[in-house]
């Protein structure tokens, strides 16, 4: 929202604060100011001038004009405007001498756009002034740009008067209300108003004007509109925009002669009702949209945009001027449904003050006298409204206020601040104020005492509050074991050479299908940003695979990991979000065996003693290189080689762990076991087995025969080749036996060894002794 400094100055008595200083004050006390723009700089020195003679310049579309520039004397100006003709009274600006087309041009003749008065740059401006006079009512201005987001809760700040009130309060000046309610005519109105639903339209006021001449606005009004970014159109439309920008009250003017009947209906649109708006768009409406209608149909989309059928034009003589109030949420819904935000809808959706409608009409009467001379009022004010009870006063205990702000403040100061913002202040009991909220702050902005803390706080200045440590009981905060565990896992994998990545929670249907996941099983986003971000991931793998493909373009080998949640749909309630670790080890060289071994080693850094056992491969896994990871009796994840068709440039070993399970198994108290005092004895055994027999299975079989005196069994090596037959391998283990109570005799150790050999032979294994 743009605010004109000149405008604010008209509304605040004795404003002596520079625009830059004002910008700072407003930012610190009211709303965020994003910068100041200068507007109409040429107006500082411009004056009316008459073109006395015009000579063409050979070979140029410019002309050489002799100009009577009043106090600047007679000057020669080279001008390119098509309307530069003898006798025209236009604006001259002394911008210095410059040679154009070989002729010295002294100053310039300016267009409306160059002057910043309007947007007309088709030719030089034509004015009706004494030569030498300044352009009446047009001055250079400073325009303050206020961040719209910072005033969404302040309906009053969508007009200059609201901002002027803030400025007056900040500087301790008097606010000049431009509205004269005494101008409102008495008597029966010339139109009837029928509001169907007083909740959606709490108030609708209107006035009829006759003998109106539609023409361009005076320059001062055009330049005002231009300064705040509105396009001057004609005196009637500019007048409605002026009031909207001043009072935050959107207005609309209908050509009364184009209306059918004398009644204005405010009603929900009929299903499928069609309506052509002022922007030439046709909208198909439904009962959720509120329309303003005459006997023949919709003439405006209430609070959003006027209609083409009743638009003001050159021929307009009679005007119905609407000044209404609409329910904020209804306007917001309609405006977002038809994707049209207008200056009016933007204001109404902030919940405007219903008391403002007739103020707008009163202001219009005063303006129209000046900008549409000869206009006549027809009848009195038409005004239908819902009973709007005044908001109850807010009880404001001053001790509570001080506690909340964290500083003391004199009651007189609190009263002064609130009254400067036009709150009513009474004191029913000691150190308690009873505060009445002005209507323009009561629609939604201020209703509880906490809202008043803000009013007082910002005006005394938050910089007057000294940072203070609270007096609170010292306490150890509740822990977050899950998060702590994840940090620990991150540390372990980083130590093992893996680099952490973050991937999106989204995947596409194609991604899902590429891995054999069912897209329908995923949680689905209704309004995805792109087709590859439709589903919420049920596995970290699609993201990780992308990381592999991307990084393999630059690297021979790498390790990376991610910790993130898998999102699984549940029958009801929020989805189950399961934290997972996925680590990957990629190598362009080799057959992938080393990577798989290494990733299992990394898993053991997190889970000492974890084991892997062959598992049936999933579609995205190498068909015979897939294992379940078991730890402390539970399956906690998988280690596998990514199916070579999913990564063709090299081999990728992947570890996928359910961190919720791993954490549950990690918990538990450690207890010390005494160190063995008696020596143990060791021996080696080699078993002959089939090539795809797992070492782990052989090992656990042997351990099962060894009995309780087995201390440890370790894999030593495996071997195939002569003298073994083809299709055989020999696997060697080192076994250590011992007792915590005594030294075993060699006979006892021999017995254990024999038991294992017998047991294995009984299972059909040959042992190499």
């Amino acid at each position: 929202m743009k605010f004109s400094y000149n405008w604010i100055r008209e509304l605040v008595e004795d404003l002596d604060c520079s625009p830059a200083a004002l910008e700072k004050l407003i930012t610190m006390k009211t709303a965020e100011c994003e910068g100041i723009e200068r507007s109409g700089e040429l107006l500082e020195r411009a004056c009316a001038a008459r073109v006395e003679s015009v000579e063409p310049i050979p070979g140029s579309h410019n002309v050489k004009a002799a100009v009577d520039a009043g106090r600047y004397g007679r000057v020669t100006v080279v001008c390119g405007a098509p309307n530069c003709r003898v006798g025209i009274v236009t604006a001259y600006a002394p911008v210095g001498k410059k040679v154009i087309d070989g002729i010295e041009s002294d100053g310039m003749l300016a267009s409306g756009a160059e002057l910043g008065v309007n947007r007309d740059h088709a030719g030089i401006i034509e004015i009706d002034s004494q030569v030498g006079a300044p352009l009446a009512g047009c001055l250079p201005d400073s325009v303050l740009e206020i961040d719209n987001k910072s005033i969404t809760h302040r309906p009053d700040l969508w007009g200059h008067l609201g901002m002027a009130r803030e400025v007056a309060a900040i500087l301790g000046r008097k606010l000049k209300d431009p509205v004269r309610l005494d101008l409102l005519p008495e008597g029966p109105a010339a139109v009837d108003i029928q509001i169907e639903d007083l909740t959606l339209c709490p108030r609708y006021s209107a006035l009829v004007f006759d003998n109106v001449t539609v023409r361009p606005s005076p320059l001062w009004l055009q330049s005002r509109m231009t300064a705040i970014g509105l396009n001057p159109i004609n005196n009637i439309v500019d007048m409605t925009n002026f009031i909207m920008a001043e009072l935050a009250q959107p207005m609309h003017a209908f050509d009364a002669d184009l209306l059918h009947g004398d009644t204005i209906f405010i009603r929900p649109a009929a299903p499928g009702e069609r309506y052509v708006a002022l922007n030439d768009e046709e909208y198909t409406l439904n009962p959720a949209n509120l329309v303003i209608a005459d006997a023949a149909g919709a003439i405006a989309l209430g609070g959003v945009i006027g209609g083409q059928r009743s638009a003001i034009g050159e021929k307009t003589r009679r005007v119905v001027l609407e000044s209404a109030n609409f329910q904020a949420s209804s306007i917001r819904k309609t405006s977002s449904a038809i994707k049209l935000r207008t200056d009016a809808s933007m204001r109404f959706e902030k919940a405007q003050d219903p008391a403002n409608t007739i103020r707008g009409l009163a202001r219009a009467i005063e303006l129209l006298h000046e900008i549409a001379p000869g206009m006549r009022l027809v009848g009195g004010v038409a005004d239908q409204m819902r009973e709007i009870p005044p908001p109850p006063p807010i009880r404001l205990p001053l001790d509570w206020l001080e506690r909340k702000l964290g500083r003391s403040i004199e009651p007189a100061e609190v009263r002064r601040i609130l009254e400067s913002l036009e709150f009513g202040v009474a004191q029913p009991e000691p150190r308690v104020f009873s505060v009445t909220v002005p209507s323009w702050r009561a629609t939604k902005d201020v209703s509880i005492k906490d809202d008043l803390v803000e009013e007082v706080g910002r005006m005394v200045g938050y910089d007057s509050i000294a940072p203070t440590a609270p007096l609170v009981a010292a306490a150890v905060p509740p822990g977050n074991p899950e998060r702590a565990f994840q940090h620990q896992v991150r540390g372990i994998f980083a130590d093992q050479g893996f680099t952490e990545v973050y991937n999106y929670s989204f995947i596409g249907e194609e991604d899902a299908r590429a891995f054999g996941f069912d897209p329908a099983a995923h949680v689905r986003v209704s309004n995805p940003i792109a087709s590859d971000q439709v589903l919420l991931r049920m596995s970290l793998l699609p993201g990780i695979r992308k990381n592999i493909l991307e990084n393999s373009k630059h690297r021979e080998s790498f390790r990376l990991f991610e910790i993130g949640v898998e999102i699984h749909r549940r029958a009801e309630g929020l989805p189950d979000e399961i934290p997972h670790l996925m680590a990957v080890l990629y190598d362009r060289q080799g057959d992938g065996a080393a990577g798989l071994a290494e990733i299992r080693r990394a898993a053991e850094c997190l889970m000492p003693g974890a084991q892997a056992s062959p598992a049936e491969a999933r579609p995205y896994e190498h068909p015979v290189r897939s294992a379940a990871i078991l730890w402390r009796g539970e399956t906690v994840g998988r280690a596998f080689e990514l199916h070579p068709s999913l990564v063709e440039s090299g081999r990728a070993a992947v570890l996928d762990l359910d961190l919720r399970l791993v954490r549950a198994l990690s918990a538990g108290d450690l207890k010390y076991a005494p160190i063995r005092r008696y020596p143990s004895s060791a021996f080696d055994l080699s078993v002959v087995a089939a090539p795809r027999e797992c070492v782990g299975d052989l090992q656990s079989a042997m351990a099962s025969f060894a009995g309780p005196l087995l201390d440890s069994i370790e894999f030593v090596r495996q071997y195939s080749g002569p003298p073994l037959e083809a299709g055989q391998k020999s696997v060697s283990f080192r076994l250590t036996v011992g007792s915590p109570e005594r030294t075993l005799s060699s006979e006892e150790a021999g017995e254990i060894r024999a038991r294992i050999i017998d047991g294995m032979r009984a299972r059909g294994y040959e042992l190499r002794l």
Partner: protein, 340 residues
């Protein structure tokens, strides 16, 4: 006579030791001079024949010679051993500039680094670190935070909706609600996490980014307390004293609400391009918890009050490391990630 012969042997042998070129040479000297039946032994054998006073004198000389020669031999041997060791070790020269084999330590994500730093700071100040899910209910993300259905604030947060009406959380604020529900007052908590906004991605916009939400609820919590904690936190984040200022800001779940600025760290407030010549840089949104929010989580606003703040973690990470493109953070490119 005898004494002279001993002295001759001694000096002769010392010369042989000195000129020995190997351990073998020394051994020859030892056997010939000090060995059984060696030259010295011959002298000892002659001792019996001497008169007692002469024997005493000659014995002294003889013993002296033996000790001298033994010491000389020992020392010479040690020198040979040391020289041999030197030669052996010299052969074991290694090039220390050859890179060590094996994988290097990996790298944690920059967001992880900063997030952990902030978790540490707040835990040390007595704040619990809480988590919430990425998928949230509309109630916790909006309604319970005083953002009813038609509130314009919902426009500002373009939401990813799910088919069943749940959503991807647009801020970490729902974790406040979870914290209040679970732990009740008094409460000090932060909630770092991933949040989502439905907007297109470019160098400075992401649909997925990270925030840290914080909240303190106790008796008599004031704006002064909020300022205190914000200053401590930001001093830790930026590793130096910072000046902060509050100005009015609007967030539906706080009242009053503030924008918190820090004095520009580059120009110390003098004005520079980074702070757009204002001397201040917008840092975070905060405020006093709205009584409706407390009430909706079953906390009596007459008894308890609190402050809340929300900090853009992603933005902080970009500031700290001078990252100019937000897309790097979730791009998975090791050439980027290995810098942290």
């Amino acid at each position: 006579m005898l004494e002279e012969s001993i002295q001759e042997l001694e000096s002769g042998s010392l010369a042989r030791i000195a000129s020995a070129t190997s351990l073998e040479d020394l051994e020859t000297v030892r056997v010939q001079v000090l060995g059984r039946k060696g030259a010295l032994d011959q002298f000892f054998k002659q001792m019996g024949k001497l008169a007692p006073d002469e024997r005493a004198r000659a014995g002294k000389v003889l013993n002296g010679a033996k000790q001298t020669l033994e010491a000389a031999l020992e020392s010479a041997k040690r020198q040979f051993a040391e020289a041999a060791l030197r030669i052996r070790l010299d052969g074991e020269w290694l090039d220390p500039s050859i890179p060590a084999p094996g994988p290097r330590r990996g790298h944690l994500h920059p967001i992880t680094h900063i997030q952990r730093e902030l978790e540490e700071v707040f835990r040390s100040l007595g704040f619990a670190v809480l988590d919430g899910p990425e998928v949230e209910t509309e109630y916790r993300n909006f309604d319970a935070l005083n953002i009813p259905a038609d509130h314009p604030a919902r426009d500002a947060q373009d939401t990813f909706w799910l088919a069943n009406g749940d959503l991807l959380r647009t801020h970490t604020s729902p974790v406040q609600v979870r914290g209040m529900e679970r732990l009740g007052p008094p409460l000090r908590m932060i909630a770092p996490g991933r949040v989502f906004r439905n907007e297109s991605v470019d160098a400075s916009h992401e649909h997925t980014f990270y925030q840290i939400e914080g909240m303190m609820i106790d008796r008599g919590v004031s704006v002064a307390h909020l300022l205190y904690f914000m200053r401590i936190m930001l001093a830790e984040v930026f590793r130096r004293e910072v000046n902060v200022r509050l100005r009015p800001g609007f967030f539906p779940f706080v009242e009053p609400g503030f924008e918190l600025d820090i004095q520009c760290l580059l120009c110390n407030g003098a004005g520079c391009p980074v702070c757009k010549q204002s001397g201040w840089v917008e840092q975070l949104g905060c405020g006093m918890v709205h009584p409706n929010v407390l009430r909706m989580s079953g906390i009596d606003p007459e008894e308890w009050s609190g402050f809340a703040f929300g900090l853009g973690l992603t933005r902080l990470v970009m500031m700290r490391y001078a990252i100019d493109d937000i897309r790097h953070l979730q791009g998975g490119d090791l050439r980027f990630l290995e810098q942290f």
